[in-house]
């Protein structure tokens, strides 16, 4: 039997809540799946949809975005901007044919080390079920094929 597929997941998180939550999971010695790689940003408001696309283009099988709970943003409302941007961006993702299930959005506070660990496990399992994200590579191959006009 072949080895189980180990997905590669990129997480964009804010430094004040989710990054601190991830640190708390560490100091609490919680164990979780090692598939997620974190990119630390000051605030989820900093996250451009281009980051998500870039990660998928680079070969990530899934992307997750996590920040402070609504109302708790260190920068008062950066997370609301992120949420709104995500709702708009969803439509574009769908249009491009990238399954929405590959991009996850959540709120994890600095106090929620347990939630962070659980979320990492559940995301890893979900993406594992979806399998490798090779659509993008296929797309590149197709577009690079000689034009037939």
């Amino acid at each position: 039997m072949s080895e189980p597929f180990e997905p590669k997941i990129v997480a964009f998180v804010c430094t004040y809540c989710t990054y601190a939550g991830a640190d708390l999971a560490g100091t609490s010695r919680l164990k979780y799946a090692p598939n997620v790689r974190i990119v630390r940003l000051p605030c989820t408001g900093r996250i451009s949809p281009m980051f998500i696309l870039k990660a998928l283009q680079k070969g990530a099988d899934g992307v997750l975005v996590s920040g402070c709970h609504p109302g708790d943003c260190h920068f008062t409302h950066g997370n609301y901007h992120a949420r709104r941007r995500w709702t708009v961006f969803r439509a574009l993702l769908e249009f491009t044919g990238i399954p929405l299930e590959r991009v996850k959005f959540s709120w994890i506070s600095a106090a929620e080390g347990g939630k962070f660990a659980d979320f990492m496990n559940s995301v890893t399992e979900d993406i594992r079920k979806l399998g490798p994200f090779d659509q993008y590579q296929r797309l590149i191959n197709e577009t690079e094929a000689p034009a037939t006009l």
Partner: protein
């Protein structure tokens, strides 16, 4: 190598990013913390082969003195252009290593931390996977640091005036400490008087000295201090700005009594016809008039009118107080006022509340008059209380012959939403049993407890005294039900040490209620911009190493607003906050992280999306003029003093003109590409 001036910008970009990069990678074992899971030697070998990496080494403890020295030496010997330290969280040692880099002549912002402890070795079991992840994290940081820029910290001026929110023992202590060091303080209290909960207490453990005797002199000292501006019956309603430069809005609630002319003679209080209002200060056990001071030693000792209960405000008739006041100090037309303050640092000392005991329906609090909470017992035992210090039943005024104290009535009970230990209840229940034994001779006190937690100087000795000298009977177990039978309160519990159920016929039951956060704590935290936990207690920046700082720079915590605390702990934390603030005020200017947005005015189209996005109003519109002074175009301009560096504007920018220093687009894309 391209030398043409036309290409200089492009070539320098390439040179700096990729060709000329000489990155040093320092992989820390952190003893066994990282080394046990991540193969650090292998990681160093992998990283050494990565393009742009000049040196990659591993070592037991890079944060140690020799560790830091080796980093500095490597920077000098290899002329490193950037440093990546793969170690613990940047929240732990980023500052340490940036300082080391600066000492070796490298710009401190050319140093990045790859977090391979908290987010790798501590959380993964499989060494192979953990090593692979550590390599990814480190590589990604190497790619980022190649694109880092030299940054200079931003200097901002400091307003040397502190704001203390809350006038209980913690707030008073912080205010006095700061004021005694010669700095200005504004002390804001939302109740009509200073004092907080400590002023309500009878005697304090473990010395049994009278709370008012030690509290009221401090209240007077704070009120009379030339450096302290006291604002009572006032609330902080808005905080803007940042460390050293906060703008604070305070609402002065209308007292309907002019405190300037009022002498506090008390004629209005004695003559007020409406005397049947339940006293908040006496926890509902006493009465007060509609114009009142909360207690006799209130500071300031000037009355206020309780608008909700005043006959004039309800019916438009009465005005007895106006008639008796010889100084015309009563003013029914008074309105709330708002004042603006310029503040450099803030101490939050907003205290706690006791939990509402009605969550325990089976204990009958609220149903039977003689079931009271710990704070109500304090009022009964206090010489200034409704019974002048006699322990009497609220129902019939008789001395109770048997009392049952129930500890952990709320604390350590997840089913009631309070998982934590309130920390003070074991001690005050022992104290209550002692006070009861001293005041009611021959009285019998029974205490149901889960554990006796008496850690503290003189604390365990104190509880032993309650048991051995004052004959308090401790029963280890929970109470399941309290009901009334023949004028007695029947308490059914279990003595788990004997393994037997017990029923005690008591005359009074005292619940050692949980300490909970103020009901509006979460909203208040949002108003001033600090974090809070699931219970509404305010979060410290680091539980062990920064226990008095909030996560927002310039805002500090003191007392029970952070977690349940007794008086010595509250005072200690208040003094610690004060010393932090004095350290802050010892400088002319503050240095801030240069993580701020910058705008490329050449490409900015002036769409003002960033202006809408900015939570801090840090983006202004700036005119670009030609030589004759004619406006060519208007562009966005970031005020680095106001910018907090969230980067929301950057991802809003349609023309990619804005960027965030330290987290530039280039850096983040490089990070993603490195993964």
């Amino acid at each position: 190598m391209p030398q043409c001036p036309m290409h200089r910008s492009i070539s320098s970009f390439i040179l700096k990013d990729c060709i000329m990069a000489k990155i040093g990678v320092f992989i820390c074992h952190c003893g066994e913390n990282i080394g046990a899971k991540v193969d650090c030697t292998k990681l160093a070998a992998t990283m050494g082969e990565h393009p742009g990496v000049a040196i990659a080494v591993d070592y037991k403890y890079f944060c140690s003195d020799p560790g830091q020295e080796s980093v500095k030496r490597a920077i000098r010997e290899n002329n490193l252009t950037g440093v990546v330290v793969a170690a613990c969280s940047p929240r732990m040692h980023e500052a340490t290593f940036r300082k080391a880099c600066a000492e070796a002549g490298l710009n401190p912002y050319m140093c990045e931390i790859a977090n391979i402890r908290e987010q790798c070795s501590w959380v993964h079991n499989d060494p192979v996977m953990a090593t692979e992840k550590a390599a990814d994290i480190t590589r990604s940081m190497v790619e980022k640091v190649k694109r880092n820029n030299n940054l200079q910290p931003i200097e901002v001026p400091v307003t040397r005036r502190a704001l203390v929110i809350g006038g209980g023992i913690a707030g008073i202590q912080a205010a006095l400490d700061i004021a005694n060091a010669g700095q200005e303080v504004v002390l804001v209290e939302r109740e009509p008087t200073l004092g907080g909960h400590m002023a309500q207490l009878s005697e304090t453990f473990p010395t049994l000295d009278c709370s008012q005797c030690i509290m009221t002199p401090r209240m007077v000292e704070a009120a009379q201090h030339p450096k302290i501006r006291l604002l009572t019956y006032a609330e902080v309603v808005g905080v803007d700005g940042y460390i050293g430069n906060f703008h604070v809005k305070v609402k002065m609630k209308a007292r309907y009594v002019d405190t300037e002319s009022c002498t506090g003679c008390g004629d209005c209080i004695t003559k007020c016809p409406n005397k049947k209002i339940s006293s908040e200060f006496d926890c509902g056990l006493g009465k007060r008039p509609a114009i009142y001071t909360p207690f006799a030693q209130s500071v300031p000792n000037k009355p206020i009118i309780d608008k909700a209960n005043c006959t004039y405000f309800k019916n438009g008739k009465c005005k007895v107080c106006v008639k008796v006041c010889q100084l015309n100090s009563i003013n029914f037309e008074m309105q709330d006022e708002f004042i603006d303050l310029e503040i450099g640092a803030i101490v939050v000392a907003t205290g706690f509340q006791v939990q509402d005991n009605s969550v325990y329906g089976e204990y009958g609090y609220g149903k039977y008059k003689d079931i009271i909470n710990g704070l109500q017992f304090e009022r009964l035992a206090s010489a200034s209380g409704p019974t002048s210090g006699k322990i009497l039943r609220p129902s019939d005024g008789k001395e109770p012959e048997t009392i049952v104290f129930i500890q952990c009535a709320g604390s350590r009970d997840p089913s009631k939403g309070v998982r934590y230990c309130s920390k003070i209840c074991c001690m005050y229940t022992a104290k209550h049993a002692m006070l009861y034994a001293h005041k009611v001779h021959g009285g019998k006190s029974n205490i149901f407890y889960m554990d006796i937690r008496a850690a503290g100087k003189g604390y365990d000795e104190f509880t032993r005294r309650a048991i051995e000298d004052d004959e308090a009977s401790y029963l280890r177990g929970r109470v399941s039900k309290v009901w009334e039978e023949n004028g007695k309160l029947m308490v059914r519990g279990v003595d788990t040490l004997l393994g037997k159920p017990v029923v005690i016929a008591a005359d009074m039951v005292v619940l050692a209620t949980a300490m909970v956060s103020q009901p509006d704590a979460k909203d208040f935290a949002k108003t001033i911009g600090i974090g809070y936990d699931e219970y509404g207690f305010f979060n410290e920046a680091h539980l062990k190493l920064r226990p008095v700082e909030s996560s927002t720079a310039g805002i500090f915590l003191a007392g029970a607003c952070q977690s349940p605390k007794d008086i010595p702990d509250s005072v200690a934390q208040a003094s610690a906050s004060a010393s932090k603030i004095l350290a802050l005020f010892s400088k002319e200017k503050l240095e801030r992280e240069p993580v701020v947005a910058t705008n490329n005015e050449a490409t900015c189209a002036g769409c003002w999306g960033c202006v809408l996005a900015c939570p801090y109003n840090a983006i202004d519109k700036k005119d670009i003029l030609d030589r004759s002074g004619k406006v060519i175009k208007r562009v966005a301009s970031v005020n680095p003093g106001l910018c907090q560096g969230c980067g929301t504007c950057v991802s809003f920018c349609r023309s990619n003109s804005l960027d965030l220093a330290g987290f530039t687009e280039k850096q983040i894309f490089a990070e993603v590409m490195g993964l």
